[in-house]
């Protein structure tokens, strides 16, 4: 899981497997962003889920949001080699910024 002072989590799976990454946040948020970051590049948004949504899908991606437990998850179905990246969740705090989690490094082996 991501957040707080946890170190970057690393996952290694085989192509075709499903994988789920979890994110816990500490303060109330109205939106959870999920970004992926490829080596040498800036993060790119893959899914944005709002507090009035419990689940959101985009292709092989599925995000969930549980505001009562202040947690979100990102699942990838039938992972492919090109899904190899670092994945971050980010939440909107009471100020004017997003706060990012510690990240999950996903390696998908062929």
């Amino acid at each position: 899981s991501q957040w707080g002072e946890e170190n970057l989590q690393a996952l290694s799976i085989q192509e075709g497997e499903d994988v789920t990454m979890n994110c816990s946040y500490k303060t109330y948020t109205t939106v959870v962003h999920w970004y992926r970051q490829d080596s040498g590049r800036g993060p790119a948004l893959i899914i944005l889920i709002r507090s009035n949504e419990r689940e959101k899908r985009s292709g092989r991606l599925r995000a969930t949001l549980d505001t009562s437990s202040q947690s979100s998850s990102l699942s990838i179905t039938a992972a492919q080699c090109e899904d190899t990246a670092v994945y971050f969740c980010a939440t909107r705090d009471m100020g004017y910024k997003l706060t990012f989690g510690t990240g999950t490094s996903l390696l998908v082996d062929p």
Partner: protein, 115 residues
């Protein structure tokens, strides 16, 4: 695909030297964010702007960091006197929304190395 442009891609400075990096946000995006990402992939929010106005910034008590987003010019982040601990990837992002409710579009970053 993000159209946020950051320059230079790499920056190498000696301790005590100034380090300046620039960012051109996506056209039509009024809000610009600067983040520092360390070697452990941890993000640290530095500052954000709406047009030319600072919205929020960290307590830059050392006063070594300064940033601006002038009208009709690239935004910039400058470190007045670089320290080894400033070595990191500096990411600029732009957005339509100042509160983080909408997507942040990131540039590829400026990787600063302080020798």
């Amino acid at each position: 695909n993000s159209k946020v442009i950051q320059t230079p891609r790499y920056l190498v400075k000696g301790q005590g030297q100034k380090a300046k990096m620039r960012c051109i946000p996506e056209k039509g995006h009024p809000v610009v964010f600067w983040y520092q990402q360390n070697k452990n992939n941890e993000f640290k929010f530095l500052i954000n702007f709406q047009n030319q106005e600072v919205l929020q910034q960290i307590d830059m008590t050392e006063k070594r960091f300064s940033a601006e987003c002038p009208s009709n010019s690239p935004c910039s982040l400058e470190i007045q006197s670089s320290e080894a601990g400033d070595s990191a990837l500096y990411l600029c992002a732009s957005s339509l929304d100042r509160g983080g409710a909408e997507t942040l579009y990131f540039g590829s970053g400026t990787r600063l190395t302080v020798l």
